[in-house]
Symmetry: C2
C-alpha cells in the first residue's frame, strides 16, 4: 500500500482535541486516547481532510484504516485482557471520520451497553496517563510513532 503524504491542511476536530490525549501516529491515522478512565478507549483519525465516511477514503487509505484498526484491536485485546473489543465509526456528533476501538470488560460501568453517553467521563491524572503510554510502548509495532518521541 502506498500511503500519500499527510494532507497539509489536516486538523484534528476541536471536540476530539478537547476530549482526548494524542498518543502518536500510525502511517495513516492519529491515535488518540479518550480522556475517560472508565474504559481503555482509543480513537483512530485518518490524517485526511474533509472525510466523514469510510467510503470517501481512497481504496489504499481505506485498507490502511482497516489494517490499523485491526492491528490496534488485536494489540489492545492482548495488552488489556479485554472481554470484548468494540469497534465503531459513528460520527453523529463529530463529523470528522474517526474509528473507536474500545476495550470492554464484563465488569465495566456500562457493560453490556455501548459506552457512548452512558456514564460521565472520568479524566486521567498524569500518572495514569503515563501508565497507559508505558503500557503501549513497544506493543504498537515499528509503524507507530509516539507523539513527542
Amino acid at each position: 500500500l502506498s500511503i500519500a503524504p499527510e494532507n497539509p491542511v489536516f486538523a484534528l476536530d476541536s471536540r476530539l482535541q478537547q476530549d482526548t490525549h494524542v498518543l502518536g501516529d500510525f502511517p495513516l491515522c492519529r491515535l488518540l486516547l479518550s480522556n475517560d478512565l472508565n474504559y481503555p478507549w482509543f480513537i483512530l483519525v485518518p490524517r485526511r481532510s474533509n472525510i466523514t465516511e469510510v467510503f470517501q477514503l481512497s481504496d489504499d487509505d481505506r485498507l490502511q484504516l482497516w489494517q490499523e484498526t485491526n492491528t490496534l484491536a488485536a494489540t489492545l485485546n492482548t495488552l488489556f485482557g479485554a472481554d470484548k473489543i468494540n469497534i465503531g465509526a459513528l460520527g453523529n456528533v463529530v463529523s470528522q471520520l474517526h474509528m473507536h476501538v474500545i476495550v470492554r470488560y464484563k465488569v465495566d460501568v456500562a457493560w453490556p451497553a455501548p459506552v457512548w453517553g452512558k456514564v460521565a467521563a472520568v479524566a486521567y491524572n498524569e500518572d495514569q496517563l503515563a501508565g497507559i503510554r508505558a503500557r503501549l510502548e513497544g506493543a504498537l509495532g515499528d509503524d507507530f510513532q509516539f507523539a513527542g518521541a
Copy 2:
C-alpha cells in the same frame, strides 16, 4: 480474494434470528435487516463459526468483510439519502461477529445518540418489508444473492 466455502456448521445466533429478517448473502456475509422501522438498520454476519472479533478472521475474510461493509455503507448512503452512516462491531450481547451498518437521519428518533438501547424497536409489517426488499433490488450488485431468489 479467495473466499473459502461456507463453514458447514455456520448457524445464525438465535438472538439475531429473532430480531432480524434475512435478506440474502454476499460472498462472505449474511445480510440481515433489523426488525425496527425506526432506522434502516442492516447487519452483516460472516458465515464462519466461532468468530467473535474481526482479528480472528483470516486475512482474506477480514478484507472481504471490510469490502462488503464498505459497499453496503456506500449503497445505503445513496439509496436512503442518509445524513450519516454508522458502522460498528460491538458484540457485547450477541457474541457472534456481526457488523452493524445503520442509516441515520438528523430527524430520526435517537439522533445524535447511537441507536442501541435508545428506543423500543417497532416491527415492520409485510408491506414495509417488501418495500425495503424492492428498494434493495439491483442496488447491491451481482455479488449479492437475495434469500429465496
